[in-house]
Symmetry: none
Subunit: 196 residues, 4 copies
Amino acid sequence: MEGSSKRPAGRPRSEKTRKAILKAASRLLKRHGFEEIATQQIAKEAGVSTATLYRWWKNKQAILLEAYLETARELVPYGKGGSPLARLRNYTVRLAEFLKSEEGLVFLRLLLAIQERPKLRKAFYKSVFLPRRAEGCEVVREAVKAGELPKTIDPDLTINLLIGSQILPALLGQEVSRELAERAFEMVLRGARGAR
Amino acid sequence: MEGSSKRPAGRPRSEKTRKAILKAASRLLKRHGFEEIATQQIAKEAGVSTATLYRWWKNKQAILLEAYLETARELVPYGKGGSPLARLRNYTVRLAEFLKSEEGLVFLRLLLAIQERPKLRKAFYKSVFLPRRAEGCEVVREAVKAGELPKTIDPDLTINLLIGSQILPALLGQEVSRELAERAFEMVLRGARGAR
Amino acid sequence: MEGSSKRPAGRPRSEKTRKAILKAASRLLKRHGFEEIATQQIAKEAGVSTATLYRWWKNKQAILLEAYLETARELVPYGKGGSPLARLRNYTVRLAEFLKSEEGLVFLRLLLAIQERPKLRKAFYKSVFLPRRAEGCEVVREAVKAGELPKTIDPDLTINLLIGSQILPALLGQEVSRELAERAFEMVLRGARGAR
Amino acid sequence: MEGSSKRPAGRPRSEKTRKAILKAASRLLKRHGFEEIATQQIAKEAGVSTATLYRWWKNKQAILLEAYLETARELVPYGKGGSPLARLRNYTVRLAEFLKSEEGLVFLRLLLAIQERPKLRKAFYKSVFLPRRAEGCEVVREAVKAGELPKTIDPDLTINLLIGSQILPALLGQEVSRELAERAFEMVLRGARGAR
DNA sequence: CGCTAACCGAGACGGTACGTCCAGTCTTGCT
DNA sequence: AGCAAGACTGGACGTACCGTCTCGGTTAGCG
């Protein structure tokens, strides 16, 4: 009864088209800055008309953001093997490596673009950052349970220090290396262990 | 040993005009995003013709960058009073406050805008970041001398942690508060003290 | 035999817009010199964006030329009533009057502008001058048939003399009057009748 | 008294510079249209500063006009040998040849350029056209005296027909040949002889 | 011979038009 | 109704060029 999902009249939205657009946008994001990419380029690359772009997305930013999210869902996962602490160290190192890679540049570009638009920034924060942050805090709490970290630790602050210490050099174009990442991790770890 | 200061032929560049342009650009930067500011706006605000803009700068970006650098030389100084450690803590707190202020937003915009242009990033790194970083490391070394921090500490890494932990929330639009900044400082401090 | 009228894909060019542009250009041509008219003026007057101008015309000159041709197809017709000879005399007088009028000035301006661009000149020659010239020669031939002019007459040369003797004073800003035009006509007529 | 020619103090105007400017302008006039020539080009070509240009001439037009007049004082003279009539025929032919030459093109450009500015046109009319016109009328009157032409002839009109019939084809880019010029002359001559 | 006024080259400057580019909307006919 | 093609508005961009200006350096001729 009730037709569950009353199919709307007319030709349904082409999933193929949607994917083609996001893929084209993704491809362009790897090579160009946010503001350099023209909507017409996306349309052409995807074999699609500009009107179709705007039928489904509010503007260029929205397309590029979604394109990024689509490809970036599983970037730098926290991993599974080993003790919680080992996973945290491993995460820090992989984050450093990601940030200096081509994909990391795309991420930084995104971060740039959303600064200008509070709404996008909020959306990004909620749909991308918060989930991974929660995941990170969980790992920290596991480490506490496993007795690797003291109960007094502030998981949020810990993660902030780990990520922040990797993002800063990436933003400045400073050298980013596995070894530096490990040293940062060690220092944060000591800070965490020394917590009252 | 001649030439050295041989004045070039022709009407000399008007210093007044140059300053008017940079000031106008600065003023606009405080209210608007990098991409929102129009060249003609800068020109009009400065009482200058567009041609003059392009005579001296390659494009809009270059003007805005220089405008920022010009006004931003003395942002968030390390301060003078108190022990080295107190100065570091104070710096961290003031940095956090700066980053959430209007001026901090301009800074973040800039930081992210230069990601697109390696040359600009390098220039920014050398002329803005390195000098302040050297200053910061010096304060850390003073703290070591004063016995407030162990000799084994890595000044660069320490500063990276302090700044990075403040910049990350700023980029994401997370809450930034004096208290959070102090807690980050405490944690870094513990990490530093625990160094072998 | 297919295609022939195969409508091209996409939104068709707006005929309304095209006409609005040419009309606006025509209106401006009456008041201002070729070089004084700004593209933005044409656009504004036509309620159109500059981009649209340049989508269909290579540059300002091309717009103004076409605007002129559009409105000037029927300038100074050869008339219908009376004997062929009377029509020729009448034409000469009206040409003189046209040349000293506002519209005549536009015509002279056009003549100026096309001197600089051989292609435009050729286009103008073919699409504006030749047809009217043919018409003029026809009238001369009719006069021959009617016995008003001898068979030995050279129609082209006759017309050249009639028009040339009116254009020269116009170019120089000499006085141009009905009486002078008539005297020129009489003299050319005598020359024609005296032909061997 | 009143010093008549009280030499002004200071360095006198450099005649060399003046000539260099006019020569440079002349050279450019041969290759480019009136509106295509940039003041800076003239200055550079003449090895002179733009300021110097505007110290002595009101604007670009004035420079180019004077440059033309300077070089064109003796274009197409009426000649000396032979009977008055022969000189008139000769003049017509040489005028036709001049008009289709490179220098003729410059002349036409000038003629049309001054249409936009009544003052220039008047100046040109008075200082260039009238003197040569007087000369032409004189030749006609000599022909009358020599019995080659009737007393009733209108010299001005005659010259207008001769010149106009050559200028018109030149403006339109029609073929201009010696033979056509001669035929025009013959026709005008017959018209003149037939005068009551 | 030195003074001084006016000249000059170099080139910066304000103003203004040009022609290009791009975001986002609208129109048409096909599917 | 979805969609490709592509015309259209609005407005910024960066270039070109006119005529003015400001420098320092140069060249007469007067004292």
